[in-house]
């Protein structure tokens, strides 16, 4: 009886150790899509965006690894990945807009110079 109890406990521990968590597919897809968007927007060409893009990728991988290990933190880690991916997208957009604003300023400057020519 005692032997049976010990065996059951060991099996339980083994089963518990091998239990995996299934991350929500829609959240994983959304995180993946956001990372892709950031890359398309040129996040890897902007230092700040590039940093958060890398964070997002690492966190997503961590989330997957945690889920495989049955670590409940996988859910919040995926949320962190989503937040970094979102931030990478916005920072890439900011770089684009900033570039456009600089060009607009140069255009105005050129027009003023042209206007001042005799």
């Amino acid at each position: 009886m005692r032997r049976a109890a010990i065996g059951a406990a060991a099996l339980g521990m083994v089963l518990a150790g091998c239990a995996t968590i299934k991350l929500p597919a829609d959240q994983l897809e959304k995180s993946q899509a956001t990372i892709k968007s950031a890359e398309v927007l040129g996040a890897d060409k902007t230092p700040s965006a590039k940093l958060h893009l890398q964070f997002a990728k690492d966190e997503q991988q961590n989330a997957r690894d945690m889920a495989d290990r049955g670590d409940e933190r996988a859910f919040s880690m995926l949320a962190c990945s989503q937040a970094d991916a979102d931030l990478a997208v916005v920072l890439a957009q900011e770089a684009q807009v900033r570039g456009q604003a600089a060009k607009a300023a140069r255009d105005v400057s050129t027009l003023k110079e042209r206007g001042n020519r005799p």
Partner: protein, 300 residues
């Protein structure tokens, strides 16, 4: 029992007073700063998303202390604050771009107007030049035409005069010198010796001269000069030559030559054609010269 309650309360207070993790402290500070900055004005909705995450982090911390959930919620809250800040900066940049675009449009419009005015002015100047050139060409053509007409008229007049002079040459000697055209009539043809009254035969010749003067020399000054030979005194010859010149002048006036154009002069023997050594020469010196001067008599 009381002792147990005191110990429990102390432990609870110690738990509540646990130090918040750095992630949460940072998230709170980030949020507070963002609220006071541009994100508070431009991206309140994004900031609200951050606030919800921060609330979750605070709640987790208050309930369970420094857990991974506290830190992860705080981490996400900080990222959302950063997102709100970045979006606010984008909004500011877009506003600046909008303002720059408006300024650029205004500058382009001004430059377009300026160029347009410049172009209009150039076109106007070109048109004025074109008109001036056309006018000059027109004037030049008119002047050339007038000159040609004048030349033709002069040629015709000269031809006509030449014809008239040719006709006149049948009754008198016609020559041209520096004064103009000189019609020379022999004294013996016009007057009896020592007289100043015109012979009848002279009148026929003078009629032809009068016709020529009226037709061909209308407007030009005419002088009738009387000349004698050297026979007789100077005074006598001068008086005779003047009387003869006057007789010719008066006759020509009576035939229609304008009196104000014609004058008579008695030059006596002072300007002989040839020396007075022979009777033939003296006959040649006795003459009346009608000089048609080159210049015209001023009108009025």
């Amino acid at each position: 029992m009381n002792r147990l309650i005191i110990i429990s309360s102390t432990l609870l207070a110690a738990a509540c007073a646990a130090v918040a993790p750095n992630a949460l402290v940072k998230a709170r500070a980030d949020y507070d700063t963002a609220q006071q900055g541009p994100a508070g004005r431009h991206t309140p909705a994004d900031l609200y998303e951050a606030k919800k995450q921060l609330d979750k982090a605070n709640a987790e911390f208050e309930t369970n202390g420094d857990t991974y959930l506290t830190r992860d919620y705080a981490y996400v809250a900080s990222r959302k604050v950063e997102i709100a800040n970045a979006k606010a900066r984008i909004e500011t940049d877009r506003q600046q771009m909008s303002s720059l675009a408006a300024e650029a449009t205004q500058l382009r419009d001004q430059q377009y107007e300026s160029k347009k005015n410049e172009l209009n002015l150039t076109q106007k100047q070109l048109e004025e030049q074109r008109q001036a050139t056309a006018l000059n060409a027109q004037e030049a053509a008119a002047k050339a035409e007038a000159l040609e007409a004048e030349r033709a008229a002069r040629a015709a007049a000269e031809d006509k005069l030449a014809g008239a002079m040719k006709d006149l040459a049948t009754v008198a000697a016609v020559k041209e010198d520096r004064r103009g055209v000189v019609i020379t009539l022999s004294g013996s043809v016009l007057f009896a010796s020592g007289k100043s009254q015109l012979l009848n035969t002279a009148q026929t010749k003078l009629d032809q001269v009068a016709t020529t003067l009226k037709d061909e020399a209308d407007g030009q000054r005419i002088t009738v000069e009387g000349h004698t030979d050297s026979v007789g005194s100077d005074v006598y010859n001068e008086q005779l030559s003047l009387a003869r010149a006057t007789a010719v002048r008066d006759y020509l006036v009576s035939r229609g030559v304008k009196a104000e154009r014609i004058e008579a002069k008695g030059l006596g023997e002072t300007k002989p054609l040839v020396d007075n050594s022979s009777s033939e020469n003296r006959a040649n010196n006795r003459r009346v010269e009608i000089v048609i001067h080159r210049e015209e008599v001023p009108v009025g």
